[in-house]
Amino acid sequence: MSDITSQSLTSLVKNIKEKKLSSEDVTKAFVKRSEKSKELNSYISEDFSNAINKAKKFDEKPNLDLKLPGIPMAVKDLFCTKNIRTTAGSKILENFVPTYESTVTQNIWNEGAILLGKLNCDEFAMGSSNETSFYGNVQNPIDKGLVPGGSSGGSAAAVSGQLTPITIGTDTGGSIRQPASFTGTVGLKPTYGSCSRYGIVAFASSLDQAGPMAQNVQDCALLQEVISSYDNKDSTSIDFKRNQYSKDLTKDIKGKKIGIPKEYRVEGMPKEIEELWQKGITYAKDCGAEIVDISLPHTSYALPTYYIVAPAEASSNLARYDGVKYGFRAKGENLIDMYEKTRSEGFGAEVQRRIMIGTYVLSSGYYDAYYLKAQKVRKLIKNDFDEAYKKVDAILTPSTPSSAFKIGEKKDDPVSMYLNDIFTVPVNLAGLPAISIPAGHDAAGYPLGLQIIGKAFKEQEILNLAYAMEDKINFKNKISDWWIK
């Protein structure tokens, strides 16, 4: 048997069910590797001794019918976990310990998994490089000094570096798919409404979605099965029939029509990205899919739209962090002074910037020109997809306009940072599902990802497409364990 920590989730589950491994074996292995990996700075909070105790307890009376029996797992620090500190990567929640559990993580524990700890992320999920976290940068396991992407940077690094067999992240404008692409892993953003948002620290309510981040498509499908559920505590949760995604997974995609949107071919796009895309098209054809040229005419308006809608919703969602009920509070001479100091000291620069943008675009005199306009353009973007889906079953694009960049490289240029999300953002605006799979390397040897966008609620379709292509691509992540002490 290969090293525990280099096994896939599917393999670990099989081994535990077949009693070839115990939960304690597996948990201790991941704890050990995590403890040696401090340099990655993937974790904000560790719960290692508890995890081992829970593993031992599981082994005493193992329920092997569960989908994640005794599997240790760390999760993004945006999910409220009962009695375990939850910070959202922010100072303002530095000592916040929820007395409740998010629905998505509860689903995971219900299937037998065990919490290892909480993973680092951009503050309040705002960022594309995990450089805005109050708890420091995260290193990309691919190479030292490289960003892992964001906002689910800690999550992507943990999966890629094998500190956890699998994890969950959240995706508002690409925060699962972009880091997956940067770290050579698989990331799925489900259809809006597929996973409950109850208990997830909210960033932009009409865009946020939780999703699995894994080493391969099959693992991803298994976790998606566990986390996706209808929740009546979330008014935007949708009650639709959910597949057994891992059971129904197939490589047979013959006859599926895959759209190639010309507008995704952006000016100045690196040659490597275009080549990767072409390779992807070839692989898809090899699998029996049919390639169709399509147009998504409003693509170039997606980023500006996103940077109105997301900050607007965030400015309102983050108003509750006022030092009154929980979290950090600064001393103030009066109530307003207290608010201003608390939020000024408690929030990092990027969060403050986005709150300001959001407040401005909603303010009197600007609402129509910005927010209302953005919601109209959002309709046009969604219409583009609806039209395209009359002709195709899925859409294939690159995940990111480049491979992982260096830590500090884009920090002072917000617009340059925002351009990271150019391919991923339209998907959130339209509420569609999309998966990023690693598909190649650039000249520096850094991973590049391809994105498959699906129809609403058709996660199975894109998982199948990804599964088929993953096989053809046969991607090998080059992890050298450079950070292990």
């Binding site: 935007t236 950090f328 929030f347 403050q352 300001m356 401005y360 109209k376 046009l380 925002y418």
Partner: protein, 95 residues
């Protein structure tokens, strides 16, 4: 559409985040760059377009009028920064 210091101060008041001169200037610079980028939307004529209300294709689901939550005051107040078991405590408002 230029964002000046006065606007920054106004927004910071609305969003209850304090800014000093230096911070305000930086913010004005950042926001101006961002808004230049956002201005692209003006290329589109959206007069006849309905705004998107939600991508969730469903109607608002009802909840029944049952009282479900018991007294969880200790949970609610335990995270608050001040040491009062019954109330949240904040500095006075200056009216």
């Amino acid at each position: 559409m230029s964002i000046n210091l006065k606007t920054i101060k106004h927004i910071s008041k609305l969003s209850r985040i304090s800014v000093d001169e230096q911070k305000a200037e930086k913010l004005a610079g950042d926001l101006n760059a961002i808004f230049k980028f956002i201005e692209k939307l003006n290329e589109l004529n959206t007069d006849k377009v309905e705004p998107l209300t939600s991508v969730a294709e469903t109607t608002l689901k009802f909840r029944s009028d049952e009282v479900k939550n018991q007294n969880i005051r200790d949970q609610i107040i335990k995270n608050s920064p001040e040491d009062n078991e019954d109330f949240f405590v904040v500095p006075k408002v200056v009216e």
